[in-house]
């Protein structure tokens, strides 16, 4: 889409969201998902691959700047969604080929030290970042676990990079950290490390992962709020970072059979499902007393939390998590674009679209997490019939 139509779209979408902000106060929330939601989300993710000439998944579409460069970090977990979708629908082998093409591209970009670069393609100077390395490791592992070979060496190098730069307390050295600070959302990296350790039988990687997870669990306050759950200093934790943290802890608890980490997830989740109930729209940011610190919603975070709670339900059988998960996924999916050649199927960064999180953008990771949560939603609802 050339610049002018994009700006026209922007000028239509902003008023649309302004109207929605008003009507959400009065109009009953529609229940039920668009039957095409998942297919449309995956189709859009495939488009993010096409626009880069099939060199990774584009960071996303900016209504101001157009399609953004390919982004190694998020390509790492976008490819997982393509693979999972292909496994549940007939005739989607082309998505498996795309997933492999993305994984091969990641291998070609892997840094000499085994890590994955910060930022999108073109970022200078290039340096390896822990979180990004972990996300690409997830992608390679998902292919390996599904019988696709050729990623063993890349996965090993990534896992060993992560072990090499970890400090005694379970955090990583500042020079390989985003913003030079430790983050609880690196529990998602530890999760990838546990997956690797399980796949390769690597005890050193497993031990390092556990150190990170113990550090993360230790950052939780009695009220469920996590210290160091921010991307940069001076921020409050967002639902995006909180959801990363919780998902990492939860999946790690299942792999490592460590109930304390799952209990930590439940402690924070009890707070958030109450917030979801009272406010009906989860805002993006929360201060240390769980007061809202933003007016906008981070749609990625809402979709991710839906996925966390659906996974928590699968792990615990507690239908309250199922209830909250369905509501959160509904909430995020409500904002998925259903029209527009370049945006149909995509999820914006924020609601309203001018919100502080990726304003006027459709990040590829927002749609990625929506797609995963839609799949989890599908599975949970199907399970009710059994």
């Amino acid at each position: 889409m050339p610049v002018r139509p994009r700006l026209l779209a922007l000028s239509a979408l902003a008023p649309r969201d302004a109207v929605r902000l008003v009507t959400e106060q009065f109009v009953p929330r529609p229940s039920g998902l668009n039957a095409q939601a998942l297919d449309d989300a995956v189709a859009w993710l495939a488009r993010t691959h096409d626009v880069t000439g099939r060199q990774g998944s584009s960071k996303g579409l900016s209504l101001v700047h157009g399609w953004l460069p390919a982004y190694p970090e998020t390509t790492g977990y976008v490819l997982e969604v393509l693979l999972w979708f292909a496994q549940r629908r007939d005739g989607q082998e082309h998505l498996v080929e795309r997933a492999k093409a993305m994984a091969d591209w990641e291998v070609s970009l892997q840094e000499p030290d085994g890590g994955v670069m910060e930022g999108a393609v073109g970022t200078q100077p290039r340096r390896s970042i822990v979180f990004n390395t972990g996300q690409v490791l997830h992608g390679w592992l998902t292919l390996l676990e599904n019988g696709h070979t050729g990623y063993e060496e890349a996965a090993e190098r990534a896992a060993h990079f992560l072990v090499k730069h970890m400090q005694e307390d379970g955090t990583w050295r500042p020079e390989v950290e985003y913003s030079g600070m430790p983050h609880t959302y690196n529990s998602r990296v530890a999760w990838a490390m546990l997956r690797y350790a399980r796949h390769a039988g690597d005890g050193a990687v497993q031990d390092a992962a556990r150190r990170q997870l113990e550090w993360t669990a230790a950052q939780q306050q009695p009220n469920g709020w996590f210290r160091h759950c921010i991307f940069k200093s001076g921020m409050n934790p967002s639902t995006h970072g909180i959801a990363y943290t919780l998902r990492g802890l939860l999946e790690a608890s299942l792999i490592a059979d460590e109930p304390r980490w799952r209990q930590a997830v439940e402690r924070t989740s009890e707070v958030l499902i109450r917030k979801l109930e009272i406010s009906e729209r989860l805002v993006a940011d929360w201060d240390e007393t769980w007061q809202p610190a933003a007016a906008h919603s981070c749609l990625t975070g809402t979709a991710q939390l839906g996925g966390v709670w659906l996974r928590l339900y699968a792990a615990s059988g507690d239908a309250r998590w199922l209830n909250a998960g369905l509501k959160a996924v509904d909430q995020a999916a409500r904002h998925q674009e259903t029209h527009g050649r370049e945006i149909k199927g995509a999820l914006a960064g924020s609601f309203p679209i001018w919100g502080r999180y990726a304003p006027f953008q459709y990040p590829n990771w927002a749609t990625r997490f929506l797609a995963e949560s839609l799949m989890l939603h599908e599975d949970a609802v199907a399970g009710l019939g059994r």
């Binding site: 009065f26 009953p28 229940s31 009890e270 109930e277 209830n323 909250a324 369905l326 009710l384």
Partner: protein, 249 residues
């Protein structure tokens, strides 16, 4: 001995069970009054629209009475006023004038009957405490839609009358009664049954507190879970399970 019924929406407060509650409390020897919170019309309309969509107009009409030629129903407020019983109206329960008026009544007991969340300043007023009917069996089922959640899990349904504390449905249990699911029951019919049982248990609990014979069973936080409004997908499951239990499925 005075009991103050705390409730809301005075213009549409027509459910017959509340008038029966007031009557039964009077018959038991309590002087009865009412404290109404009455949110601004805009806020009521907003809440009603969100809950019911445009059906809210129909619901409003049915609550006021007069639909289909039926006689307008009596509100609890007008029923009390006809009997010269005090009725306090407030925007918010804890606004200074409402609190002053409540304290002036010197209530021994507050009885919640479809009230807004009651602030601590109000709970602190009555000598014997504040009691609430909860349409679920505590401590297991705290929060919202607990009848539906109980059916969803295949657990018994019933009413608990408890003292109100700072938590949500966490106060000492006074009385509790299971309600059998009978052939043909729907959630609507169960709600009516809950109201009938609640009316009786509230009066029994009030008498027990007045006479010093009430048995208080403390709850532990870890013995129950907080439930929220049920997602429509899960509600359909609960309805199917109720239909099966009630011999309709």
């Amino acid at each position: 001995m005075r009991a103050v019924i705390v409730t809301r929406y005075p213009r549409v407060d027509t459910p017959a069970w509340k008038r029966r509650l007031a009557e039964d409390l009077q018959d038991a020897g309590f002087g009865v009054a009412a404290l109404y919170s009455r949110a601004h019309t805009i806020d009521q309309a907003r809440a009603g629209l969100k809950e019911n969509g445009l059906q809210v107009l129909k619901r409003y009409a049915s609550l006021r009475g007069g639909g289909d030629g039926a006689a307008a129903s009596t509100t609890l407020a007008s029923w009390l006023e006809e009997r010269h019983a005090p009725v306090i109206y407030a925007r918010r329960l804890d606004e200074p004038d409402a609190l002053s008026a409540l304290r002036a009544l010197q209530p021994d007991l507050l009885v919640l009957a479809g009230a807004d969340i009651v602030p601590a300043a109000v709970i602190d007023v009555p000598r014997l405490g504040t009691i609430n009917p909860h349409y679920g069996l505590l401590p297991a089922y705290r929060g919202m839609n607990v009848t539906e959640w109980s059916v969803f899990h295949g657990d018994p349904v019933g009413v608990t009358v408890h003292l109100v504390d700072a938590g949500i449905d966490t106060g000492d249990i006074l009385l509790q009664e299971e309600i059998p699911v009978e052939p043909g029951d729907t959630f609507e019919r169960l709600r009516t049954k809950h109201q009938e049982v609640a009316t009786r248990l509230l009066v029994d609990a009030a008498i027990g507190l007045r006479d010093g014979t009430a048995r208080r069973i403390p709850q532990r936080a870890e013995d129950g879970r907080q439930y929220y409004r049920m997602h429509p997908v899960l509600r359909r499951v609960a309805e199917a399970r109720l239909a099966q239990a009630a011999g309709r499925g």
